[in-house]
């Protein structure tokens, strides 16, 4: 019986993926749980319990209504939150700052970890995410597996996955040992995919990839209050096709390392104090040698190295809860472009596309939570940070001087933000309203990019070191109702963004890239309004049956009433889950209306409406104390040819796909 409850709990959290918002998460922290079992204990490799085990992080995130992903191929999708992409978000891995090394956003940092490393993804909307660093749209933190010091002994699992479309083969394994004083946890995952077929059996060339990822964590419990954890991840992807782009990637490699000290119950005010130092380095090498028609061959490598410090104190006093966070990092980003003329007697053409820009950031965030009565909670917080960019390459600085003759190598900024929220909870109702102000510094590309070709609008982009901080005034409100059999929720996020950074055509400049439409220079738009709303319902007529519907409506316009690009049109997801005696089945439908408000002005092409149907079934067989779990499914059952608003250059998504997953788990405790 207990197991059954656990199982239902697991399922309900999984379905949170589709529901996007649980009533417990009524404030703007929206959690996409990967590791539901972690809530109770960790006997299993938890991703095996997902709807589609071993699916990529991208696919997990894509199930959420809040997060959407810009797809440029099968691999390394770029997360968006509140219709804003990575430069307006804080994307972190276990609160560590990591910055992609690709000038064309081909390596969002979500591509440098895998589900085998992670337990959870924490999505914080708007200034809720300010504790991760300056942000406009919010924060997405990929939370690595957490460990508690229990006497568990050895446990582990082996997982295999196969998908018919793209011939994707996945293998993952994990081994963990833990006792009351010590743990060691190692995992490995390998993925290999050929080109996939879009609907109507349309082959999409250059959509293959191959990667592996391995990570190791070791923890020691020094005493009752102090623990020390070391963690290392290595991620290596090769031969990655980007069918929506003119180039592929030969290598994307990351080394991610950290050491963390945690102290708990320090005194009556401080519950926990966690400090982490970290280092990561990324190498990203683009490749055009496999394309049949290349007007001019070029090498475009990029490197990004970040060292950082994160320290957070959680405290409580009477009805107050407090969190003080310090975030500091030093990033070096450099990218080059070397073009080889068809006339081989000529010298190669070289430039820095990111001129070795160093970024130093140090900021503090204080958040406070005060409940003066059980039903009333008020939250408030503020952050301030120092941000400095510095162009370290003299070559790069000289080339920037072509556009900005008097610019200096360094630029300092102060970035502030504050937020306040009120939550009212009574009986089955919960209501919240929040207001906040946030700022961000321009990204490296926005401030220092040098002839970065964007295939979305076919313009060369030039960074602008004189950009002001982008500022955002935001308003959130949410209402939820929760009963035994029925739940529903409604949420609205409104952003009024001032000095919105976007590329504006500059007709004085002529494009460098062949066949480009022109040159855009990053400039500040007076203001942009972005609204995202969503509504979810869940109905459970019988303990083993659950239905869910989630709807989302968004719009974004600038002060000239021009539509903004990459704004989610009206979209929906609906699902039906049935489970009985170890067998679980799920059918769901997802789709979107025609992209009626696409941004032709910013180079966007409208996408038509679509709807697809997916089906999955899973069955677990206990073998003695071990467990064998099967999962099969069909995605896009009707083999629909479609692309969503977030598909770069309208690249179509996968057509019909059958998948099979087998996982085998062993756990010593079950043996005993």
């Amino acid at each position: 019986m207990k197991n059954k409850i656990l199982f239902l709990l697991i399922l309900s959290v999984i379905s949170g993926n589709i529901m996007a918002q649980d009533t417990t998460n009524i404030d703007s922290i929206l959690s996409v749980k990967l590791d539901e079992v972690a809530i109770i204990s960790k006997p299993l490799i938890n991703y095996t319990k997902q709807n589609k085990p071993l699916s990529s992080i991208d696919e997990y995130l894509d199930k959420s209504m809040n997060v959407s992903l810009v797809r440029r191929g099968s691999y390394a999708w770029e997360p968006m939150l509140n219709n804003m992409s990575s430069e307006r978000l804080q994307l972190t891995i276990d609160v560590m700052h990591i910055f992609g090394a690709c000038t064309d956003k081909m390596d969002p940092i979500t591509s440098y970890v895998d589900v085998s490393n992670l337990s959870d993804v924490k999505v914080s909307s708007g200034q809720e995410g300010a504790s991760y660093g300056p942000t406009i749209g919010g924060a997405i933190d990929l939370i690595k597996k957490k460990h508690d010091y229990c006497h568990i002994g050895w446990l582990g699992s082996v997982n295999f996955g196969y998908e018919s479309n793209s011939n994707l083969f996945t293998a993952a394994t994990r081994v963990k040992y833990s006792n009351a004083k010590f743990f060691v946890d190692a995992d490995f995952i390998f993925r290999d995919a050929d080109n996939y077929k879009a609907g109507k059996r349309t082959l999409i060339p250059f959509s293959q990839f191959q990667k592996y990822n391995t990570s190791l964590s070791i923890g020691v419990k020094i005493n009752n209050k102090n623990t020390l954890t070391g963690s290392f991840t290595f991620d290596n992807a090769v031969n990655i096709g980007y069918p929506a782009l003119p180039m592929d990637v030969a290598l994307a490699r990351a080394y991610i390392a950290s050491v963390q000290h945690s102290a708990s119950y320090i005194n009556s005010f401080i519950d926990e104090w966690t400090t982490r130092v970290y280092f990561n380095t990324i190498t990203h090498i683009m490749d055009d040698t496999k394309r049949p028609i290349v007007p001019i061959h070029m090498d475009m490598p990029g490197w990004s190295t970040t060292s950082g410090l994160y320290s957070k104190i959680n405290g409580a006093h009477k009805r107050q809860k407090m969190a003080l966070t310090l975030n500091a990092y030093w990033n070096k980003s450099k990218a080059e472009m070397t073009m080889y003329p068809n006339d081989t007697s000529r010298k190669s053409m070289f430039m820095y596309t990111w001129p070795d820009v160093h970024t130093i950031y140090a900021g503090v965030n204080l958040a406070n939570n005060f409940s003066w009565k059980p039903m009333h909670t008020i939250k408030y917080g503020a952050s301030i940070g120092f941000h400095r960019n510095f162009v370290a390459s003299e070559f790069g600085l000289n080339s920037m001087h072509i556009f900005y003759p008097t610019m200096s190598a360094g630029k300092n900024r102060i970035i502030v933000g504050f937020q306040t929220a009120y939550t009212f909870a009574k009986n089955n109702w919960e209501y919240s309203i929040a207001m906040a102000y946030g700022e961000r510094a321009p990204s490296i590309s926005e401030a220092y990019g040098f002839y970065l070709f964007n295939s979305f609008d076919a313009y060369d982009y030039i960074g602008n070191p004189y950009l002001k901080n982008e500022k955002s005034i935001e308003l959130h409100t949410a209402l939820a109702y929760k009963m035994k059999k029925i739940k529903w929720n409604f949420g609205l996020n409104y952003f009024h963004i001032l000095d919105y950074i976007i590329g504006i055509p500059n007709t004085n400049y002529i494009a460098m890239t062949l066949n480009a439409n022109g040159v855009k220079e990053y400039q500040a738009l007076e203001s942009v309004n972005i609204v995202s709303t969503e509504c979810g319902m869940e109905y459970r007529p019988h303990p083993s049956v659950k239905t869910r519907v989630a709807l989302s409506y968004n719009f974004g316009r600038d002060f000239n009433k021009q539509n903004m690009p990459l704004v989610r049109p009206f979209s929906f997801k609906a699902g039906l889950t049935y489970n009985i005696k170890g067998l679980e089945m799920e059918m769901n439908v997802e789709g979107a209306s025609k992209q009626y408000a696409h941004s032709a002005f910013y180079g966007e092409k409208a996408k038509p409406a679509y709807a697809i149907v997916n089906f999955a079934a899973g069955y677990s067989i206990p073998i003695k104390a071990h467990q064998l779990h099967f999962r099969v499914g069909i995605e896009n059952m009707a083999d629909t040819y479609y692309s969503t608003y977030a598909d770069w250059n309208n690249i179509p998504r996968k057509g019909r796909n059958f998948y099979l997953n087998i996982s085998y788990t062993f756990d010593n405790r079950m043996m005993e």
Partner: protein, 293 residues
């Protein structure tokens, strides 16, 4: 020194120590003095001897930065030595004439007057724009007239002029039927940056006289023919500087590689002498110079 001694006395150091310190100070000063003599301003810093030319009374050392002469604009430096007393001359008046001895005819080249280099004791400077290289049959000679308080003489020698890999000089017949020479003076070492652009424009009066043209308008457009013939931003069109009679502007080179500098030259009454504007159908002007780095 006296003050130092006085100061040391004041702080009542033992005499032995004062002597020791004094010796130490003197040796430091001596060492630094020695260094100074060694570091006397080098007349020839950055220059390489090209060749020595001489007659009975006078020897002239000819220097360039690279140690060679190439087709196009060349800065040339001299030192004049009086062979009779083996001393360099600081107050010579020099005039020169480069001549190309071709099989059928001979001609001179655009050149500047020779002037003393500011801040140098014995160094003189001028420039010559060689329109063509020399070879076994056709050689460049340089004759230099030397006038010093004691000597008046002329020195003559042949010089090798190598071809340059890029087109750094071009001669053309203008729409006014006159022959012109356009030469690139700088950038000598182009960089991915905004470079100083300096150009010389000369007109052929006779085959022995090529004075500078100072009233023309030179428009230029840098392009990369290997990369879709794109141009670069924020170039500054060159304008005449009447001190050196050269045209000065700025050229932005947004990447390394091969750049074609396309020109249009207009006369004082705004009539195009030579060159075409670049357009989708016109990839290159008939008047151009080249850079590759």
């Amino acid at each position: 020194m006296y003050y130092l001694y006085y100061f040391l006395i004041q702080i009542k150091l033992p005499m032995k120590k004062i002597i020791f310190i004094a010796i130490a100070m003197c040796s430091i000063i001596l060492i630094s003095c020695k260094k100074e003599t060694a570091q006397q301003p080098d007349e020839l810093a950055g220059l390489t001897l090209l060749q020595k030319m001489a007659n009975d009374t006078t020897e002239i050392e000819v220097y360039t930065r690279s140690g060679t002469l190439t087709v196009g604009y060349n800065d040339i430096f001299f030192r004049v030595k009086n062979k009779l007393n083996d001393e360099f001359v600081s107050n010579a008046v020099l005039d020169w004439m480069p001549i190309m001895h071709m099989t059928m005819m001979s001609h001179a080249a655009p050149k500047s007057p020779i002037t003393k280099v500011a801040g140098k004791e014995f160094l003189y400077k001028g420039f010559i724009v060689f329109q063509m290289p020399g070879n076994d049959m056709e050689k460049w000679t340089l004759s230099i007239d030397v006038q010093t308080p004691s000597i008046t003489t002329a020195v003559l020698d042949t010089f090798a002029v190598a071809n340059s890999t890029q087109k750094r000089v071009t001669s053309f017949t203008g729409s006014d039927s006159k022959k012109y020479i356009l030469a690139l003076v700088s950038p000598e070492n182009p960089a991915v940056a905004t470079n100083d652009l300096t150009l010389g424009l000369f007109v052929k009066e006779t085959s022995m006289s090529y004075p500078a043209v100072t009233d023309a308008t030179i428009l230029f457009d840098p392009r990369m023919p290997d990369m879709g013939n794109h141009t670069s931003p924020n170039n500054v069109q060159p304008i005449i500087n009447t001190t050196d009679n050269l045209y000065h502007g700025k050229v932005s080179l947004s990447m390394t590689g091969y750049w074609k500098l396309n020109f249009i030259v207009k006369n004082a009454s705004d009539v195009v002498l030579k060159g075409e504007e670049i357009s989708p159908s016109v990839e290159s002007s008939s008047l151009y110079l080249e850079l590759e780095f």
